[in-house]
Amino acid sequence: MTALPTSIDAVETLLSGQGYVASRALATVVFLSLKLGRPLFLEGEAGTGKTEIAKTLATALGRRLIRLQCYEGLDAASAVAEWNFAAQMIAIRAAEATDRDHLKAELFTEDYLIARPLLEAMRPQPGGAPVLLIDEIDRTDEPFEAFLLEALSDFQVTIPELGTIRAPEPPIVILTSNRTREVHDALKRRCLYHWVDYPSFDRELEILHARAPEAQETLSREIVAFVQKLRREDLFKRPGVAETIDWAKCLLALDVIALSPEVISDTLGAILKYQDDIQKLQGSEAKRLLDEVKRELVPA
């Protein structure tokens, strides 16, 4: 188990040691969240490294990562705990022969409980308090958000048959949202909020160096400059950093050493995920952007 970082600089070093290049603003909120023991609420476009930060933190701190993927209709039974009905039925049958008096005390104990992510995160773990990732919270509905309030402000969950279970050491909680709807203020208020933006040219280049180190310097610069240009175009879904990295890996797999309009057309599927966007970019439009990129990169 690694000790928690003691300054914002230490957070930056810790994350970059795992190949995650964080902006100063992100490093600040991560530090505050660790220091104050508050959940961290990350909102932003898809593919900007929101989920990745939880994974990186867990690895860097040597903690267990517990992930709760949200979906519509997610309820307490699948988020906290469920009873093992089959085992309970067998226990009832067995008790019929012997004594029925102890049945009541035995049937609703931890032996028959199947722990789901939230309960798991409240239990002590060998490496210290785990990192709890509540992913894409905007996919659930409001009742579940309300349910999360108890779990996130007091770090405890209540199972009606068993009582309240409190975490001995609060987990490191990270919530992410793609903003397909507004999450309620009551939940946001209990968290530290950070909007994850697309990175600047220099930072994205740094990220690409960390994630795809085998790419040549000139190719990396071209890739990043092209994606940055693309984000300023009128697209339905702008490419995220994840797409930049994917694209770089695709180009490396194809042994490309410099971008050309043909190569871009062939690999557009790695950065654009909507047919309309791809159609817009195919042919002359890609060539125009590439020419601009090449002109701008020459002096550098």
Partner: protein, 417 residues
Amino acid sequence: MSPTYPALDIPDDGKLAHNIAHFARALRKAGLPVGPGRTLDAVRAVAAAGFDRREDFYFTLQAIFVSRPEERATFAQVFRLFWRDPRYLDHIMSLLLPQVHGVQEDRAAQAAEKRAAEALLDGQLPPPPQDRPEGDQIEIDATATMSAEERLRTLDFEQMSASEISAAKRMLAKLSLPVQPLKTRRSAPSTLTARIDARRSLRGAMRTGGEIATLARKAPVTRWPNLVVLCDISGSMADYSRMVLHFVHAVANRKGQGWARVHAFTFGTRLTNITRHLRARDVDAALKAAGAQAQDWSGGTRIGQSLHAFNRDWSRRVLGQGAVVLLITDGLDRDDTTLLAREIERLHLSCRRLIWLNPLLRWTGFAPRAQGIRAILPHVDSFRAGHSIASLEALGQAISQTDDGGERDRLMALLRG
């Protein structure tokens, strides 16, 4: 909270804490929802983070005070002004706020006053003397009221006089738009279904010593869908859109009636989100505020462009949970319709149901000849007229049936033939 705060980082005289409290007040004045709890959090956070660098101090406060991306710009402005010289900001605020505040209050008061005056004076103003002798007027009026209301129901919005319009508005305020609830994947106890609730059954069995006497059952919970209204406010639609917005206001403000949320947008040459304005209780104030924000009343129409803007910026945020879209436009687009066709298709694919209200449909011989109409028609689920109170009432009845197509099928046949 953990006891590890280096509380001593804050100077003992409390100047910084004091300033942060001032800063929080400034943010609140600027419109951010900042309560005292957040101020306390901010002092703690600053104590935890330390502040060797101005940048860190900025991000620390931002993490506490900002909870929406739109608030970041305001925060940056206030931060820049405040931490230069607190008195400067106070000065600016004192210059700006009374005015802004005054104007808002004024506006609300005006609209409310107008309504109040109407309510007080209704029926008490003496009729213009040149009309008719007063003696037999009462009788005539009394008999005419019912039929007048009947006539008003079917009268075209465009042909209404000022007094008829205000009467129609009162009728519109009483209209509702009933809706069928959606099934969710969540379940709740029920007695009438086949799904067994194992957890409750076993808990019940505990009472009878492990004997399962009755099986507890459960059924899916229902919820109300969202409604998204896209209203054309260009010149050709002006008379209708004003009335329809009255209707939308009535629907949006009816509590416990259906629709979980109502989002409203207007478009002419550009798209404007007026959801926030519609929340004002007073319909005149609401529409005035909406009108002030939408700059393109009675201008040209660029339906394709506006839908494109909606699809790009809003569709993913407001169409998420099975929303129904009500598109109100005459479909007369000045631009090339290839864009329109593409965007309406995307809109149709991303919502649960797309209903098109078109006032042109009131003409009996209406045929889909205009390019824009031909582009939109194949992608709507239901096509209805929206030119009178009766037609809006009919919409209310139709919307609760999921298979209602309105005039769509008849017109599609015309389009093909």
